[in-house]
Symmetry: C2
Subunit: 296 residues, 2 copies
């Protein structure tokens, strides 16, 4: 299994109120993902609250993950930052601390142009020797990559993969094929937004970057393996079983749900960084019922 293929599980990064990472709790979460058999760990993704952690804490988290995983599960690390020089430094840190690849989102405050995003990616790809995956996450970055920009970036050294939002099910075949036709052989098309990713894999995608996989690796892996085998009927069956989880994600946001889930499963007491609030008791009860139903 090459990097940027298969199920990449995106866990939370347990930290205290001041943003100090709890490396022990993180190692516990990662051991569980490794035991579950995930193909890679997506450390410091959006759900891993990379945007809320400073450079020193991000580096501590990577070093702790590298030690916990012992080289047997590859680590993809989010290195997004508002400033280009900061993202470059984070990419260098990731390499030095033991990451296998980096994931770069065009974090924005002032809305960015396509050329600004292109130059930003070239600079960060050049800052380390790690392969880079384009993190196209318009819901948080407020920048949406055109297929043409992805194709242009796919020609840059070390930029070898994309993590796209999942297309609508009825458009998945056409969307995956259209992008596939624009990028080099071997450029890895991966998908996020948990409730559509299996469909995108059935349509030819090679990776699922999964929030639910960071909490519940077993049902996520079962779904991914069915999609990789091209078994559409099994994908439908397993996806239907996860539907109550997708509903919670849409209602509360995946990040708030998986924090509550990790608390309910006794994995960590950590809460999201303020201003993001923990979910209330009613929401937690709903999440608990869904976890019980999934055998979580």
């Amino acid at each position: 299994m090459t990097l940027f293929h298969g199920l990449s599980a995106f866990p939370i990064t347990p930290a205290d109120e001041g943003g100090r990472v709890d490396t022990g709790a993180l190692a516990g979460l990662l051991g569980r993902l490794q035991a579950g058999g995930v193909d890679s760990v997506g450390l410091l993704g959006s759900t891993g609250t990379y945007a809320y952690l400073n450079r020193a804490e991000r580096r501590r988290a990577i070093a702790a993950a590298a030690e916990a995983l012992g080289g047997r599960t590859p680590i993809i690390v989010g290195v997004g930052a508002l400033r280009t020089d900061e993202a470059m430094a984070l990419a260098r840190d990731a390499q030095e601390a033991g990451a296998d690849g980096v994931l770069l989102a065009p974090v924005s405050y002032t809305p960015l142009t396509e050329e600004e995003v292109f130059q930003h990616f070239v600079a960060v790809a050049d800052a380390s020797e790690l392969p880079l995956c384009i993190y196209n996450n318009p819901g948080t970055t407020h920048f949406s990559f055109s297929d043409a920009l992805i194709a242009r970036l796919a020609g840059v050294k070390r930029i070898v993969a994309v993590k796209n939002p999942s297309p609508a099910p009825e458009a998945a075949q056409a969307r995956v094929a259209a992008l596939r036709a624009l990028v080099p052989e071997g450029f890895a098309l991966g998908y996020a937004a948990d409730w559509g990713a299996a469909g995108a894999v059935l349509a030819g995608g090679v990776a699922w970057y999964s929030v639910v996989g960071g909490l519940l690796p077993k049902p996520a892996l079962a779904l991914m393996r069915a999609a990789q085998a091209g078994d559409a009927a099994e994908v439908r069956r397993l996806d239907a079983g996860l539907a109550p989880m997708w509903e919670l994600f849409r209602e509360y946001g995946g990040l708030r749900v998986v924090y509550a889930g990790a608390n309910l499963l006794g994995l960590t007491d950590a809460q999201p960084p303020l201003p993001i609030l923990p979910l209330d008791a009613a929401a937690r009860a709903r999440i608990g019922a869904v976890l019980d139903g999934l055998g979580g």
Copy 2:
């Protein structure tokens, strides 16, 4: 003239490639605004690239501004940050370094709920003794305040003003009146988005938070004084003169335009923080022509 009333001029914050603020150049820009007679300076607003500067540099900028302005022009300082604890620290820094008020935007990565924004504002308002203006800037923060949320925040100690996007001209009277009816007497309704703010002031707004005012204080002040005097015909005449500038703002974004303008006027050689790119020669030529036409 009380704080959060009148023309608040929002300059760029000149800095080098590494994000080190050029306090000498900043003092020069501020002296020009003070000489122009602006009612306040909006330091470290969106155009002042607060989101791209670290805490130490933001504090240096405030201290330099306080020294340059000598207490004769009030300073409103942007204290937005992704984390609540960071925004609280920035508010304390602002008070200690000589600010007269703070401006708080709900900077987001994970999209925020209304309750999360409310709690964030309560915490930051409580962190210093300075009066606070709500910075409602959906184009950069991706959070849009409802009138109901502004009214709820207006009941919190020290939250005394709002900087809203300017309403569409045909809706200005109704929108300003609707919000006015929801907030306490004395709560200051101010407007940004330069091309509509004078209309909102004619409709009853009391402040214009102005990007163009941070570069060209004299034409901005003339427009604001006409709006404050209720002289709609003069507002139309002066606003028409600034129309070529509004067109550039809409096309390139105000921040890129005022950096180029400050370069062309010989005020500073500073460029925007990467990934934001300087405008190209053709755009700069257009900006130069508009500045010549305005007698800038």
